[in-house]
């Protein structure tokens, strides 16, 4: 068994900032060639800038099958076979269910859940043929605990856990692992948009008494992507400062 990730190729969606950026940077630090994606051209350029010689940024709309196919074909051509897929891209459209619009529900489901189906399916053939691969889906603590105002987000994030367990069972015999990392409240733009009331309520329940850092989530992702985690599949690693122990 190789113990290094040197020379492997990883795709990290939603890598322009926050947790995705930290994941891309830490994988790059392990010698992995990283393709980070963003929805905008500007975001993709920012990723190319911080990755430097360790990879590049690319524009990708995870809700568009053609866009997904295009990026994967480009990766295949430039870097060769994909070893690691990190499904990190996600959005929130919070509202109480009684006020939630169909569009808000659909957008969160499509970006946060269906995108993972789309991307995982698209990389399956290559990973099956090589009898190796890592798929890591970024879920959330609220997929387990729930959170008022986030029925759509919680449903999608819980959906990722079920998806990962099912796919893990389908392809474990082919040397491919599928796992989730479920962050708690992490210091990112996404949690900055929480209301002060929401934050206070959450803080009171975090034994670590602080927000987590994106790097602390990325460390769990790098572990799951590493050769040492080959026997872990269908699992969810919670990174939440003790907020929820499951």
């Amino acid at each position: 068994m190789t113990t290094t990730m040197q020379g492997q190729v990883a795709l990290v969606t939603g890598a322009s900032r926050g947790i995705g950026k930290a994941i891309a940077e830490q994988l790059a630090a392990q010698g992995v060639k990283v393709i980070g994606t963003a929805t905008s051209e500007k975001g993709a350029e920012a990723i190319s800038a911080y990755l430097g010689e360790h990879g590049e940024g690319r524009q990708l709309d995870v809700t568009d099958a053609d866009s997904v196919a295009g990026v994967l074909a480009a990766i295949d051509e430039t870097y060769g076979q994909l070893d690691i897929l990190v499904n990190n891209a996600g959005i929130t459209k919070d509202n109480l269910l009684m006020r939630l619009k169909d569009d808000d529900w659909d957008a969160v489901m499509d970006t946060n859940l269906k995108s993972v189906y789309r991307l995982s399916k698209a990389v399956m053939r290559g990973m099956m043929k090589r009898r190796s691969g890592r798929i890591i889906n970024i879920s959330s603590v609220v997929g387990t605990t729930g959170n008022p105002g986030q029925t759509n987000y919680c449903a999608a994030k819980a959906g990722l856990v079920g998806f990962s367990k099912a796919l893990a069972q389908e392809i474990a015999a082919r040397g491919i692992t599928v796992n989730c990392v479920a962050p708690g409240f992490i210091d990112t733009d996404m949690t900055k948009s929480l209301t002060e009331d929401q934050k206070q309520a959450i803080f009171a329940n975090i034994p670590a008494s602080r927000l987590g850092q994106p790097e602390e989530v990325a460390a769990a992702v790098v572990f799951l992507a590493s050769p040492g985690a080959a026997y872990i599949t269908g699992e969810t690693i919670h990174v939440n400062g003790g907020l929820a122990m499951v």
């Binding site: 053939r125 099956m128 043929k129 389908e170 392809i171 015999a173 082919r174």
Partner: protein
């Protein structure tokens, strides 16, 4: 140049890890050759590559025996 039948059987032997004499025309991948559903999917993938063709899902689901695979390729192969 091998015949289509020989090439199909060679792929089945490689993919499913079975012996040549087991690969009879009427043999079912799942019932006779010990394949599970994922093995069958991989077998179709291998056939697609060998014969440079794309087998639609609804057709792939019908390829359950050695003969069905040979018939499909015979009717659809590019070469």
């Amino acid at each position: 140049m091998s015949t289509i039948e020989e090439r199909v059987k060679k792929i089945i032997i490689e993919q499913l890890g079975v012996k040549e004499e087991e690969v009879k025309s009427e043999a079912s991948f799942e019932n006779d050759l010990g394949a599970d559903s994922l093995d069958t999917v991989e077998l179709v993938m291998a056939l697609e590559e060998e014969f440079e063709t794309e087998i639609p899902d609804e057709e792939a689901e019908k390829i359950k025996t050695v003969q069905a695979a040979i018939d499909y390729v015979t009717n659809h192969a590019n070469d």
